[in-house]
Symmetry: C2
């Protein structure tokens, strides 16, 4: 009696799906079954979309975003404010800011944050290219890094590197998130919110 009856093709599909973030082995099996059940509706389109992504998606040589063109759609958009570069850790952060529609400038994706314990120094991040870009017409660099220890020490390092170039280096405001209840916020956030209080 075979332990896995599902055939090596299905087993391989499950193994690969299980490597996606958010899918364990159990949910990967459910996903594989759903795919096979919806062959023309889901399996074939997904196979095609993945093949197309593999063939077409490239990293933007300017900002590190991913797109099907290089430079990416954002970098080549003339309506964007080229005097502002918003630095983010990951492409997912860029997407979040774009969904919010709050950035009129360009982006720069670091590809992570400094983490000496994990052996991630400045050379492992997309920092050299950022320093190159820190020249006219750029007048402001907004460090939109995570409000974590690693994010903030990365911001600190970048601030030092970017000094003396006549460029204003800024960071995101810290405070109470919209809809946030004071009772549930950590002390650091409350301290930042009080310190940066505004006149009404």
């Amino acid at each position: 009696m075979t332990k896995k009856t599902s055939g090596s093709e299905i087993e391989r599909l499950v193994q690969l799906l299980a490597r996606l973030p958010g899918l364990g082995h159990r949910s990967a099996r459910k996903a594989a079954l759903a795919l096979i059940k919806k062959r023309t509706d889901l399996l074939e389109p997904l196979a095609a979309a993945l093949a197309e992504a593999a063939a077409k998606i490239v990293e933007c040589s300017s900002c590190g975003n991913i797109d099907t063109v290089d430079p990416c759609t954002i970098c080549r958009d003339p309506r964007r404010d080229a005097s502002l570069i918003v630095v983010v850790e990951e492409i997912g952060d860029l997407w979040a800011l774009e969904r919010a529609g709050v950035v009129k400038g360009l982006y720069h994706v670091l590809g992570g944050h400094l983490s000496p314990l994990d052996g991630i120094g400045p050379d492992r991040l997309n920092i050299g290219r950022l320093i190159e870009r820190a020249a006219p017409p750029v007048t402001e660099i907004l460090l939109a890094l995570n409000a974590t220890v690693e994010g903030q020490s990365t911001a600190h390092y970048l601030t030092e590197q970017l000094q003396g170039r006549g460029i204003t280096v800024t960071r995101l405001a810290q405070g109470v998130p919209i809809g946030g209840e004071l009772d549930y916020l950590d002390e650091g956030t409350l301290a930042a919110a009080v310190k940066s209080r505004r006149t009404l």
Copy 2:
């Protein structure tokens, strides 16, 4: 300023991934990013595995299992006990029983359960083929259906249909699951466990 900068290829990939069970829109975005980051390691193999699944996987015309051959590997295995058919609702149930390695017989996948409210009558399930299979060498049909109202009413219907063929129709034992704490079990399970109590 475009709201979606990720390019239509990436957006399409996210949309398709979000239709997998267990993946919401947010985790689909994470999965898409992970795929694009691990291009040779994950994206290309997954694209290939899906294409292969789409090309090769067929439904077993005998039992309703999926495999790359028809009849499936289980149905054509001569070491299997052909006198026993284990009826399950879904292929995932078949997989679960195979992982447990507790079934020596063959299977029959119904493709769901009776659900008059959803318009799912006997004709929508793989029942006709089961009735055909209910002939020698088959001597026992084990209804391994879910212990839900729908599963049990499906079992009831099948029991009626299979009567008068000289075949023993059985169902799974009900009781306390291994590791189960009485305190957390529902009354129905406790009642079944008491009713079917065994002598030590």
